[in-house]
């Protein structure tokens, strides 16, 4: 129950996003073609091409969310961009890098937790994330994460409702701890919705697929 209360803000961001931006892609760009930055132009082209999109928000900062469009995929890792030139790297729905958010994840090794969560193997697994410190040096943090299932949940994605298994990843290091949540589609195995901790400065990021 307590855990569920902690989840409320995520749902808030996601719902707010879903309500105020029923079609985020087209509403942002209606009637604008001139004076665009290269990143805005690229975003609009992607939008016209109908690439997959995901809604992402910084949970601790109200109003800081956007629809991210998939720019490319390489070695299974997709790069998703926003019109204001922030990018997220997702590997099967798992956040492995951010750029331009402030306090970015430079990279992450989530191989074991990902397998455990997507295939539903509870247990303890390692997770590694790297950052830049105030002197531009790479800092690698390691966590031990307990993966467990919270049972079945329905996720309303607008056009349809997905039946998902809600997986919890409870991570700890010597001085940091966080809980990540993944709503994994029981049919397709996709991560439909998630809440993933990025960094001490940024806190958790809420992510949700936008079906087209």
């Amino acid at each position: 129950m307590i855990r569920f209360a902690a989840l409320a803000p995520v749902a808030g961001v996601l719902l707010l996003g879903a309500c105020s931006l029923p079609d985020p892609v087209s509403s942002i760009f209606s009637g604008r073609d001139s004076g665009q930055s290269p990143s805005e132009r690229r975003y609009e082209q992607l939008s016209r091409a109908g690439v997959p999109s995901v809604l992402a928000g910084v949970e601790n900062e109200e109003g800081r969310f956007a629809a991210f469009l998939k720019l490319q995929e390489r070695n299974g890792i997709g790069t998703w961009v926003s019109p204001d030139n922030v990018s997220l790297s997702l590997w099967n729905g798992f956040l492995v890098a951010t750029r331009g958010l402030g306090g970015d994840i430079m990279s992450a090794d989530v191989g074991e937790v990902q397998a455990a969560i997507l295939f539903g193997f509870p247990g303890y697994y390692p997770r590694f994330q790297s950052y830049l410190d105030g002197e531009n040096q790479t800092v690698i943090r390691s966590f031990v994460c307990k993966v467990s299932s919270r049972g079945t949940r329905q996720v309303d994605l607008g056009p349809f409702t997905a039946t998902t298994r809600l997986m919890e990843e409870d991570c700890k290091s010597s001085d940091q701890s966080f809980v990540n949540l993944y709503w994994v589609d029981e049919g397709t195995g996709e991560v439909r919705q998630s809440r993933q901790w990025a960094s001490p400065l940024l806190g958790p990021i809420a992510l949700r697929q936008i079906p087209r």
């Binding site: 922030v86 990018s87 331009g100 830049l132 105030g134 400065l201």
Partner: protein, 720 residues
């Protein structure tokens, strides 16, 4: 944070003690009180010093006031053990009519060095020099010992000389070494500002001590028995001294701001202090919201070259125009300028100008990733050459497959660094540039505001000037640059000063004010510059015209600095003619030939040293020594001094030139990429001896950011 670090260092110190005595106990678990700034603006109790230090790279600003005295201070923990403090004090009525308004404006430097760390039973020990170059009001020396004895409680005791040996003093115990220690020689009139070697640790000594108590996380309470009797202030009748007890309470708001109140002089004088403390290693945030880079493109998505173009077997050839255009557009989006792109059978070489990223590795990383979107799949090797003022500096060669492999790797920055080939741009095998059509002439202009703050002037704490600035330049071919800059003052009080130059030397710097007074429209420079590479590891510059505010002439420089060497050697020869005060095209009849041989050394532990030996503007011969602490985020804090053949008494106040420099990168404050920064040089006094010509674009500072070890120090940003 502060408490954590102190706790950690106490633990480490405890660890060392354990090795020595093979004991372990609870003492190492004691929580030490934070080391806070005293009312003297350096780590201390109330006015007295302590032996412990602030965290490395901690910088503290303070302003305190009591009765007729105010002190503004800047304190910096220059290393784990060494701290330095600059203090600007105004003692109202101190001088009666000796000087023009009876006030004493005093600039003083302190240094403190912790030479023994705190152990389980052993206190920390430190030695310090207070006001060791200034006018001598605060001149003192001390040795102090501090020990945390209970959670949040620290005791300090020490012995002081000079001002810190003025209450209840006794014969100098060092007198048994040599009887000359028993008396402290007086100051000669003109010797103020000289380093007072012959005074240090001389004359009567006295004991001081005190207790710091960290009552809560925010509140610290201090009481001390002071060995400073405020003799000079009492004599001048500006301080009511009743006894040696000082007490203070200090409140920390948790954001670096602190507020302290004290009762000084045995209960007679109330004092307040406002302070701000921060760590240079930690930007205040918002951190780093630079735009995202382009990701490495999948090789399968890379465009093929159109038909009708094939790489020449003979060597690299310019890329097709369409490819150059696409590459230039993607680089422009990253804030980089493409000046050459050539292709060989399986490799590409691009020359870029980076005006945006202070970490050169980031410019290289962004350029490399952008190029994977436009280079044909058959190109497996990308060479990026950085340039400074048209000179190719460093060539970094990256395998495209390594970029593809390491972009998402956990330690990807290190991995790509270990496989990158970093060499001099003039090394054999680096494809020479073929300018992209339309790269030259390259025009640039800027219209903006300028501000000149002058801190801690002899008779005004802050002087300044703001105005409009128009600068323009054109690079007609690689390295040949014509540029000029005009300034129109809007407001300011720099020219209010009425201090005539009183130097016995030619007035090469002491009449700076006359330039401010003569005109509000200034031509700050108008020059032709040529930058070139005479060969591998060697850089050249020639500058002619109106070089700086006060001098015109010509300047030539050669620098030897291999790409991977911490050592650089330079030679500069100048001819300078003094400009008219109105800063137009005219000259005065003072001219001088000068020049330096310079040695630069990067100690690779954050310190960079420089020695310039040669002839200065007043025709004096000597050498300048400087040592800077440099941080990988762009901060620089350093100190310098110049000794020349001008005798100390002819030099005048200060005896010789010295000062400290502080440079703050804008990126550190804004989180946006910029190569700009704020810089200031604080001198106790500006005189004519040991004065250098202020030529723009000296070679070492132009090229070193692109070279090792700086390049590698910033490599964490390669994938940013």
């Amino acid at each position: 944070m502060g408490r954590r670090q102190l706790r950690a260092s106490a633990w480490l110190a405890g660890g060392t003690a354990c090795l020595g005595f093979a004991v372990s106990g609870k003492a190492q678990d004691l929580v030490a009180p934070r080391t806070e700034m005293s009312f003297m603006g350096r780590p201390g109790i109330v006015e007295m010093p302590v032996a412990t230090s602030q965290p490395d790279a901690q910088m503290s600003l303070g302003y305190m006031q009591f009765d007729n005295v105010s002190r503004t201070s800047l304190s910096f923990q220059a290393s784990n053990r060494l701290s330095g403090t600059f203090r600007y004090s105004i003692l109202e009525g101190f001088d009666e009519a000796r000087y023009f308004d009876g006030n004493r404006y005093d600039r003083s430097f302190d240094i403190g060095f912790r030479f023994i760390d705190e152990g389980q039973y052993r206190p920390a020990f430190a030695v310090g020099l207070q006001d060791f170059t200034g006018t001598g009001v605060y001149s003192a020396e001390y040795v102090a010992a501090s020990k945390t004895v209970a959670d949040g409680v620290r005791l300090t005791g020490g012995i002081g000389w000079g001002r810190l040996g003025s209450h209840d003093s006794f014969d100098n115990p060092l007198g048994f070494l040599n009887s000359s220690f028993k008396t402290r020689p007086g100051l000669g009139g003109n010797e103020a500002g000289k380093v007072q070697f012959d005074q240090w640790f001389r004359g009567p000594a006295a004991l001081f001590g005190g207790v710091e108590w960290q009552a809560t996380d925010q509140l610290q309470l201090n009481v001390e028995y002071s060995s400073d009797a405020y003799v000079q202030e009492s004599d001048a009748d500006i301080f009511d001294y009743a006894g040696p007890l000082n007490v203070s309470a200090e409140y920390q708001f948790g954001n670096g701001i602190g507020l302290s109140a004290a009762v000084l002089g045995g209960g007679t004088t109330f004092s307040g202090m406002l302070s701000y403390s921060f760590n240079v290693k930690t930007p205040p945030g918002p951190l780093d919201r630079e735009a995202a880079p382009l990701p490495v493109a999948p090789r399968s998505a890379a465009p093929e070259l159109g038909s009708g173009w094939s790489p020449s077997a003979a060597g690299p050839a310019p890329a097709p125009a369409a490819l150059q255009e696409r590459a230039a557009a993607l680089l422009d989006e990253q804030g980089l300028r493409l000046t050459s792109l050539t292709l060989a059978r399986s490799s590409a070489t691009l020359y870029i100008v980076n005006d945006r990223y202070p970490a050169v590795a980031e410019a290289i990383g962004r350029a490399a990733r952008a190029m994977t979107h436009v280079l044909p799949p058959g190109i497996g090797r990308i060479t990026i050459v950085t340039q400074a003022q048209g000179m190719p500096v460093t060539s970094v060669t990256l395998e495209r497959s390594e970029l593809e492999h390491y972009e998402t790797d956990l330690d990807g920055a290190w991995n790509i660094y270990s496989t990158a080939q970093i060499e001099d741009a003039e090394a054999p095998g680096v494809a020479p540039p073929v300018p992209v059509p339309g790269s030259y002439p390259y025009f640039e202009y800027g219209l903006g505001l300028y501000a000149i703050p002058l801190f801690f002037d002899v008779d005004e704490p802050v002087r300044g000037e703001v105005g409009l600035q128009l600068g323009a330049g054109v690079e007609t071919s690689p390295g040949l640059i014509f540029s000029g800059n005009l300034r129109q003052k809007i407001a300011g009080n720099i020219d209010d000063s009425e201090r005539p130059p009183n130097s016995d030397l030619p007035h090469v710097r002491t009449d700076t004010l006359l330039y401010y007074q003569a005109t509000d429209l200034e031509m700050t420079h108008l020059t032709a510059e040529y930058f070139f590479r005479p060969g591998e590891n060697v850089y050249g510059r020639f500058t002619a015209g109106y070089l700086e505010r006060m001098y015109g002439g010509a300047s030539g420089e050669v620098l030897w600095k291999p790409v991977d060497s911490p050592l650089g050697l330079g030679l500069e020869l100048d001819y300078a003619v003094k400009r008219d005060f109105d800063m137009g095209f005219g000259f005065q009849d003072y001219d001088v030939a000068l020049g330096f041989a310079s040695v630069y050394y990067d100690f690779q532990n954050g310190y960079v040293g420089q020695v310039d030996a040669g002839r200065y503007l007043a025709g004096d011969w000597g050498a300048t020594f400087s040592l800077d602490r440099e941080f990988d985020n762009g901060w620089r804090v350093g100190a310098f001094f110049t000794l020349t053949d001008v005798p100390f008494d002819e030099f005048g106040e200060g005896s010789f030139d010295k000062g400290i420099v502080v440079e703050i990168p804008i990126t550190w404050l804004s989180g946006q990429p910029s190569k700009d920064g704020f810089g200031t040089t604080l001198r106790p006094v500006t005189r004519d001896g040991g004065a250098q010509l202020d030529v723009r674009n000296r070679l070492y500072d132009l090229v070193r950011r692109d070279q090792e070890p700086d390049l590698g120090d910033g490599w964490g940003r390669f994938w940013r």
